[in-house]
Amino acid sequence: MQVLWQIFTSFFKIGAFTIGGGYAMLPVMQRDLVDRLGWLDEQEFLETIAVTQSAPGAIAVNTAILIGKRMAGLPGVAAGALGVVLPSFIIILGIAIFFQNFLDWQPAIHFFAGVRPAVVALIAHVAWKMGRKLITGRFYLALFFAALAIIILVPGLHPVWIILSSGMATVFWTASHRQAAEEGE
């Protein structure tokens, strides 16, 4: 029961502070799931992101479901999905019912204009922390820069291709290395 409550509150927080969609959820998610609760390490965190953005649907929702399942089975799925959706649901209903001219309210516009650059900085910080933990050798460093170059040079490339090709490259590299080591012996 306690773990269900933790799943719900964590993803409620993540839903409430994902401003701007997509990767904006990463800083809050990393702090809560990796640093505070210790449910995932850096490697598992990035694996999870890989899976959740390869599937259809909102990434934050997919992540809540995947982590909920992993921590507490189907009840965990319900707790995670409900947690991540409720903040949006409440805020948007509030705007739709009471506040149709929200877009003309200056302080709100300024608030979110201030949040945007900070979120970019926080995402950069997460990328740096993750990269440092994961890039443990020359092969992985080369893979990182190769993937980065491809993403920048091929706009509109679907993430799933980067995910599949970096996974396969690692399998081949490891296999050929093992073979080379065996032949050398």
């Binding site: 401003i19 877009l103 970019v120």
Partner: protein, 172 residues
């Protein structure tokens, strides 16, 4: 009500990549249903971008409410989430199988690929998010706080929002 559920189920099942990738299909479905005009749709995207939470959920809740009240909002939101539940439960089994297999080393490379994707996203976000000195100051302050202190990202985000209210509203 059922129509709201079905339309948003379709959107949830067919839009890959999350966030902005979902907008074109959503627009097609919703404008085609005659629920909103193009201009109203763009307003909703603007609201969804400015408020917390995934854009797909925000849009589903807003459009659902306008066409079916609170129940409509619930039907549309559940519709957009339901495909994720089905697909993610299947994916979590596949992930567990891959982890147990001799190819589990692939996941290490996948992690590095995702780190590269996040880094690339940062480069793409810098230009739209940082357009003047106030933006730059907020970004530098946020990064400095994140690196040197243990402050929660939530505190930094709230602080940046307040800085925005002060800098853009009162000073500039």
């Amino acid at each position: 009500m059922l129509e709201l559920f079905i339309t948003f189920f379709k959107i949830g099942a067919l839009t890959f990549g999350g966030g902005y990738a979902m907008i074109p299909l959503m627009e097609k479905e919703i404008v085609a249903q005659g629920w909103l005009t193009q201009a109203q749709f763009l307003d909703i995207v603007a609201i969804a971008e400015m408020t917390p939470g995934p854009i797909a959920i925000n849009s589903a809740t807003f459009i659902g409410y306008q066409h079916g009240g609170i129940l409509g909002a619930a039907a549309a939101t559940f519709g957009v989430v339901a495909p994720s539940i089905i697909i993610m439960v299947i994916f979590s089994h596949l992930l567990a199988r891959l982890k147990a297999s001799k190819y589990s080393i692939a996941l290490k490379g996948v992690g590095v690929g995702v780190a590269a994707m996040i880094a690339a996203a940062v480069f793409g976000l810098i230009k739209p998010a940082i357009t003047n000195f106030a933006d730059l100051a907020i970004a530098v302050a946020a990064l400095t706080l994140a690196i040197t202190t243990k402050l929660s990202p939530i505190v930094i985000i709230l602080g940046a929002g307040l800085a925005g209210v002060v800098l853009y509203g009162l000073v500039l």
